[in-house]
Symmetry: C2
Subunit: 348 residues, 2 copies
């Protein structure tokens, strides 16, 4: 291993000077700079990052925790985080909490241990109570995507989830569906609906606007997974709940719900319409294609990185919160309900 000392010796300067060249401090004379550069090349010297990390207490690494890497929504965000971070010379340590708070907390501590320069939390991967414990201490900057903990020291990048929930529900109401079941995220002790709260509020707001009373019996809890959506939908179907449409709080659950509906021999949207949330790529190639709320995935990721790296030297003294826009994407899984259309019976 060749070290800075070797470089210094070879080029006949002090290690401090060699270091200055590497970090191109302006005060090194051109002559010595060239000499050092030459030695670096000849010795094929690579600075040891570990020594650098120890001395500077920085790692050029940011930690990312995602709730479920197999949910196609997240890779889209991760890709953008990774690409932008790379551009700025940072790497990412990725942790998958598998929708499990315990794993999320563990991951959080690992990242603190590793002295990452910043942490990006995607979704509600760490419970609020755990997070607040670390705010008084010297902690790396934390940015949360798609979850608003309401903690001023933590930067937040979200979409207007209430509007999202509202748009999805309103779309169904406008088409004539009155009994709209919802499949939410996991209910939680101290973090209500794990951040799917906004969608929930939006749903209720739309109902209110259309003077339809909220019916808690057609609210089922999911877990943001395909299977969770499938199972929740099964409950709707078995309970003879008579729902005319379903608003699933993410696309994966929507697709799971569609599986259950098709399995039962019912048609989408003629018998039951479905709306999702996220707009993952799959939404446009499942059958029928899924109407959903599109989140700006690339922007969410990039914005989080921008915020993090802009404040990595010194913490911002004001609280940061960005709200990004979302939009309704209309596809096949919604349509006017049967009674308003032809009465033709046809099964898959």
């Amino acid at each position: 291993m060749t070290t800075l000392k070797d470089v210094a010796k070879k080029s006949g300067v002090a290690v401090g000077t060699a270091s200055a060249v590497i970090n191109n401090k302006s005060w090194v004379s051109e002559k010595t700079r060239q000499r050092v550069l030459q030695a670096i090349k000849e010795l094929n010297y690579q600075p040891n990052q570990l020594a650098r990390n120890l001395r500077t207490q920085r790692t050029n690494t940011i930690g990312v925790i995602v709730p479920d890497i197999t949910n196609p929504f997240f890779p889209q965000i991760i890709r953008n985080i990774g690409a932008l971070a790379h551009k700025y010379g940072y790497s990412i340590i990725l942790c998958d909490s598998n929708e499990d708070y315990q794993l999320g907390i563990e991951a959080f501590h690992v990242l603190l241990d590793k002295k990452v320069d910043g942490i990006i939390l995607i979704g509600g991967v760490v419970p609020k109570r755990e997070l607040v414990k670390y705010l008084d201490k010297k902690h790396p900057l934390i940015v949360v995507i798609e979850r608003d903990y309401g903690i001023p020291e933590i930067a937040t990048v979200v979409v207007d989830a209430i509007k999202g929930g509202y748009l999805a529900t309103k779309h169904l109401l406008d088409l004539g569906y009155n009994k709209i079941g919802i499949i939410t995220g996991p209910l939680d002790d101290d973090d209500f609906y794990r951040g799917s709260f906004g969608r929930y509020e939006g749903y209720k707001k739309a109902l209110e606007e259309y003077k339809i009373s909220f019916n808690p019996e057609i609210v089922k809890q999911g877990d943001f997974s395909l299977n969770g959506g499938y199972k929740a939908m099964k409950q709707f179907l078995e309970n003879n709940s008579q729902v005319q449409a379903i608003f699933a709080f993410n696309d994966l659950m929507a697709i799971g719900a569609m599986e259950a509906i098709k399995e039962k021999g019912l048609r989408i949207p003629e018998d039951i319409a479905v709306v999702g949330y996220d707009d993952i790529p799959e939404a446009s190639y499942v059958f029928p294609t899924l109407t959903t709320i599109r989140l700006p995935k690339a922007q969410l990721g990039r914005m989080a990185v921008e915020i993090l790296l802009n404040h990595t030297k010194k913490k911002p003294e004001f609280s940061i919160k960005k709200v990004l826009p979302l939009e309704l994407i209309t596809r096949q899984s919604c349509g006017a309900p049967l009674k308003l259309k032809s009465n033709l019976k046809w099964r898959y």
Copy 2:
């Protein structure tokens, strides 16, 4: 920041002893061990990993490079790598090369720079010529998943891809399809078919067995992406190539091909049958569901980690290669061709 020195002072021992306690070396007496532990607790001491890393030249980190994190095949592997690594106290630095050799090479160098304890390459993310450059130098252990570079110093975990290609093709041949087009991975200057070579061989082997001559005109190059599959299929359809079935070298391209086929108003499998490769979750919920070759994704990931961590202290002196089993999963996208079935015309 409280350091080991503080702990040592507080408990009245030398720092060497305190260090020994932390790394629970057996020769520390129970009495002093307790004293040190007590001090650690009272001071709420956390060892500084960066100092540790520098001193030991180890980081408890493994680097992972994937070709495309938005391809659902990879998150399944990543999850398993991450989970097992975490269990053994390791974190992963994830790099997404976006199917771009240049980015793959950059990622590789970043990982070497960061002094990761090992590197897992998934698929052909780094060209062979780049890899061999680093074999004479002191490099971390490298394990490659789903790609056989044929370099003894590099550990390899693959499936029997020739068998995979063979099974997929044979299945179609058995159903009566004779003209089977294929959509391969990217053709490459120095890395032929970027590791999709095995599937290609298997395809040819099956044809041979059925005495069907190989026709290079029905071989199209894809890029392992949905869109790549879509475009390749378009070519087949526009060229009036008369293919009766398609074997796409991964599921994503197969799904893309299905989109093109459906868009053209043709039926699957009645007009054109499709087989994929990987068995991503989507294969079972697209329409029609996709017949494919299932790869043991969890096992691939876990095996790579096992190999890496078993040899992280000292390099193995023999070359390691594991071949895992795969299987054909039959779903709706294949069936006997039209002439052998009913002649009913029906379009989507």
